[in-house]
Amino acid sequence: MSTYGARHAPSAFSTPASIALFRRLTWEGTVPLEIRVDAKELPANSNRGLECYFIQAPRVSYLPLVVPEVRAFLMDVVFDENGGRVVKEEEWWFERDDGGLVKWHWPIGLIYDTYTTSLSPSAATSSSGPTPLKLVLHLASPPTDKLLLAPSAEACKQAFMGQLKEADFIRWGNTKRMTGLRKQEQDGIWEGIREHDFDTYWRIASKITPTPSPNAQGGRSPSPAPVPPSSASMVHTRPPSAEPGASTDANRDAATAVRSVPARIYLPDGPVLQDLVPPALADGAPHTLGRFLHTHLPLLFPIANPRHSSDPDLAYALIQGVPCPLDAEMAWLGACMAGADGWVSVCVGIGRPGA
């Protein structure tokens, strides 16, 4: 059964090597953070003037995983012995320099991209590369009712697993692929995040992430893409316990066979939108980013498939920090540029993206 009729352009899935490349690029992406302790909260006798920590953090990681490193620095360089004893990590919380509260359960890349889209267009433009996201680290009185989550790595892990399951349900209408993983494997995915190890993560994630090969390619398993051995884990293997009676047809897990792509739209300093995102439209054409944004934000994206330079240029979409072309296919984005939690985060910004 072909999803794509002859009249449509070749699918983005037709180059397997680029799929591996984009998954690797997404994984390796980092953003600059500048973490500064609120000067009013420094314990007595601290080394003032040094309480600023710079880190190039992985997009797919989380702030609770960065905290130990920041703590070690502060203990070594800033706090004196008494100060070090007095600080309680469980009271720590982050705020953006411009006052926005930072959530523990959001991936760092998402925190950064929503910061980018909240800036006015010319502020976002920078000729010297991405500007560090300035975060203020508070050491006490966390606004727990707004943070919604404890700052611990364990709470973060639970939230992460919850997002993976929600994504699994979005795709297939059940969470069999996630629950089919052994506990050791579930822990392994989080280990991959903690250690920031691509192979550790994908060894297990490949069992639950849709395969890049579409139905249109003859209905057979794809031969492994010609990429370095570390990406060999992308070839899908289904855990034997998941569906005892199921066929081994890899197309059942094809990215284009999902009922919906897990995707969310983040408006600048504004609401988050989530809805079903079928991989193909009623006429069989691939569901593109442009169509998706036009459907949900027609005032910002008045034309589903803009082609002319005279088409309105009111807003743009960042995915993994990259201004994404509106003809990108949602199914492809779901298979290749989703976050490690399974979700395609589309950060909408007003105007044109910065340099």
């Binding site: 959530k103 697993m161 504004g270 609401p271 989530q274 009111l314």
Partner: protein, 125 residues
């Protein structure tokens, strides 16, 4: 392009030539930021030993975060903040507490309502 008086709201760092499109975009953004006042039906279903409530269907404001639903449920059950309460959608997963009821409803509703399961112990991790 001459600046018109009603574009005061646009940040001054935006150039004058962009002001037409910029205003249109900002107005659009304001529209999308408005909270959805509509309500959706949430159906609570007890799991395991959790008590069944007399009333299980409730109309909840769509723009509420899921955290508000959890607090509402706690109040209806008469449970205190420290009492263990685990909630799931469609007996499958726990949503992030800042997921909105509207988004969850659009993605996961069945037969016109969003099923929220609740229990005193962790059921599906």
């Amino acid at each position: 392009m001459a600046a018109s008086p009603d574009i005061r709201a646009i940040p001054s760092s935006w150039t004058a030539s962009e002001s037409g499109a910029a205003k249109e975009a900002l107005d659009a953004l304001e529209t999308y930021k408005k909270k959805d006042p509509s309500k959706v039906v949430v159906r609570f279903r007890a799991i395991g030993n959790a008590p069944i409530m007399r009333q299980n269907f409730y109309k909840i404001t769509a723009s509420n975060r899921f955290q508000a639903v959890i607090q509402f449920l706690r109040k209806e059950l008469g449970w205190k903040t420290g009492d263990p309460l685990y909630t799931y959608i469609n007996m499958a997963f726990s949503p992030a507490p800042d997921d909105t009821v509207s988004n969850l409803f659009k993605s996961f509703s069945t037969d016109g309502h969003l099923i929220v399961n609740y229990s005193t112990t962790a059921a599906w991790g």
